[in-house]
Symmetry: C2
Subunit: 216 residues, 2 copies
Amino acid sequence: MREEFQADLSEVGRLLITMAEAVRAAMRTATGALLTADIEAARAVMDRDAGVDALYAQVEGKVADTIARQAPVASDLRMMITALHISADLERMGDLAEHVAKTALRRHPSPAVPAELRPVFQQMAETADRMADKITTILARPDAELAAQLEKDDDAMDDLERDLFKVLLDDDWPYGAETAIDGALLGRFYERYADHAVNAGDQIVYLITGEPVVDR
Amino acid sequence: MREEFQADLSEVGRLLITMAEAVRAAMRTATGALLTADIEAARAVMDRDAGVDALYAQVEGKVADTIARQAPVASDLRMMITALHISADLERMGDLAEHVAKTALRRHPSPAVPAELRPVFQQMAETADRMADKITTILARPDAELAAQLEKDDDAMDDLERDLFKVLLDDDWPYGAETAIDGALLGRFYERYADHAVNAGDQIVYLITGEPVVDR
């Protein structure tokens, strides 16, 4: 029974890794679409989001199946519910990549992001990518120290969002309200992506160690 | 065993109703804070969000406890997992009300919303309130027809968001980028609140009827 449960848990873990890789790739592609006004890349992100949703459904199916067959209790059951939380965060990260891609598409053939804002979005995207990479890594191999770094990455993301708003709200902002709004919403998509990555990281630590991360 | 499970399910339902009432009240108070620059109301929403989070934890605890004690399978287990989804949507609706309150607070003593935008936000808030009311009602008493109306409310919300953007993006918009950005983000908070209400409604129908709502 115990061995079977471990096998089920490993299978759930593999599905979560596939999801994490998919939402990392999605945000990379979406950022590319955004910064180069690449309509094909934007469409690819939107098409592939269905794959992320399907993985989400697979995790949930596997968890339900495991609970039904193994009737886990206490920490084993808790782990199953934690896996659902992680997959929900990853699914949402996929949605946020899709929102970035949609913004690129909506403004095509114009770039959604003026030249002044490209560096800050490049940095936000790099931070997001680093975080998704860490999540993929710690899902495969437990590393509480690496998980703890997600918090610092998230602080860096918040700083970048503040930098972004400084530019958007500068008195000399020359691009009008529409571009300012797009910029603010895009900033929020990256910032939310980072928040979900932190949540997922906390849950993964719990999944691996059985120790809840203290509420911040 | 069956009777015990039904009692557990009823208890989960009661917690969900309390959550739904709380997030409905939160958005009402947040809108009041927003439209009248009422700092006390804004703070109250933020303080009370911890109560919503505590209810969310209670639902999850009750679900875990029920699964552990009753070892439900098939549709009973599915219902337990569905309850987790509903509570996650409600928790997120509470967060969105908190975001509205925070925006009011950040701009205090200035109003975050200029006079021209008050009618559209009033309507968005009324739509959100109607949706939260329906969710509370159908949690207490199954009504698939009422649940189906959530979809129409959500369409109305999307139309209102479009109206809002028309004003924000008008060439004669006199309030500058910061107020435009606040308006766009606020619009998004109400629109997301409505999306989560639709999700929750679909899940409630499933919880009650055992019939999944076809993906839209």
